[in-house]
């Protein structure tokens, strides 16, 4: 079951988010606070990675009530998914979401990079991705 999916651009702003299973929406202020905290944690965890290991930053956060998964692309965009703690295969879902992003968002000539995503086709593709698997 998935609760919340969002995309963070390379300067740390949330450019897209989607809620599922009746999850309460965050207010705009909370959203900013949340994204900046997430970004800092991501950067700090990369900094405290022991030498000789790949500095990938925050990838998975496991708690009793949810699991947060971050997939960062080589170009710096981050795809994050919050699901229930037993979720499997979150990485491949995020990769699929990345494919949809490159197809529906970046190939749209009217989309300006690093801006908010408001594209209906993309919404539908993302919903299909996360709701089908939830059953």
């Amino acid at each position: 079951m998935h609760y919340h999916f969002f995309i963070v651009n390379k300067i740390g702003l949330i450019i897209y988010d989607r809620y599922y299973q009746g999850t309460a929406k965050l207010s705009a202020n909370d959203m900013i606070r949340f994204s900046s905290t997430l970004n800092s944690v991501h950067l700090i965890s990369a900094q405290i990675t022991p030498p000789n290991l790949r500095k990938t930053g925050l990838k998975v956060l496991n708690t009793k009530t949810f699991k947060l998964f971050c997939y960062q692309t080589t170009t710096g965009v981050m795809f994050c998914l919050v699901s229930d703690p037993n979720s499997q295969d979150m990485e491949s879902l995020c990769k699929k979401a990345y494919q949809h992003y490159s197809d529906y968002v970046l190939k749209n000539p009217f989309y300006e990079t690093d801006q908010q995503i408001r594209i209906e086709g993309f919404d539908q593709a993302i919903d299909r991705l996360f709701l089908e698997k939830a059953v």
Binding site: L43, A46, Q47, K55, G57, T73, T74, T75, V77, K95, Y98, Q99, Y101, S102, D103, L106, K107, T113
Partner: protein, 185 residues
């Protein structure tokens, strides 16, 4: 090993992806170039404009490329190999060869023997200065910039101008440090 796998990967993606008619593609590109020539009336301006258009394509195309391929490039050699074998295969249906490395391994040439874009093209004398494929140079520059590699790409030799093959020269200017590297202070 990297060579084989990048070739196989390009092949697979090519087989999976939707295709457009090669002639339609070549004609569309041709009419784009002709339109630019008519509107700008200045060949060097056309070359510049083609490069900029390619650059803007590259900025977005790289995400499409990375989302469909699983690549990690450690060295410039890997990068060149992936562009030549996977990138060109995936988007143009041809592969090209990587040659002419300089001593520092930051410059290389991509040799295109066969190119769907130029199949029906003949350049007459008036357009001797036109860089018909300058868009490809822009694509490479834009795509590399998004993965933090600053580069310059030029059309060195052109089969349309009587050369045996088309050669794109890629010069890697700088690899921008990973943002996670600790500061000195």
């Amino acid at each position: 090993m990297a060579r084989k796998s990048s070739q196989v990967q390009g092949e697979q993606i090519w087989n999976q992806s939707e295709k457009v008619n090669a002639e339609l593609f070549a004609f569309t590109y041709g009419s784009l170039v002709v339109k630019l020539i008519r509107e700008l009336e200045n060949i060097s301006e056309v070359n510049r404009q083609l490069e900029t258009m390619g650059y803007n394509i590259g900025l977005r195309l790289i995400d499409d490329f990375l989302s469909k391929n699983d690549v990690t490039c450690e060295t410039t050699k890997d990068t060149a190999e992936v562009i030549a074998k996977t990138g060109f295969r995936m988007y143009l249906g041809v592969t090209c060869d990587v040659t002419n490395w300089n001593a520092d391994e930051n410059e290389f040439s991509l040799i295109l023997a066969d190119n769907p874009l130029t199949e029906f093209v003949e350049l007459n004398e008036d357009y001797r200065d036109l860089k018909y494929l300058n868009l490809l140079c822009g694509v490479i520059r834009g795509a590399l910039e998004m993965v933090r590699i600053k580069s310059v790409c030029t059309l060195e030799r052109d089969s349309l101008k009587g050369d045996e093959f088309t050669e794109l020269r890629v010069v890697i200017k700088e690899k921008v440090q990973d943002e996670y590297e600790p500061d000195d202070d």
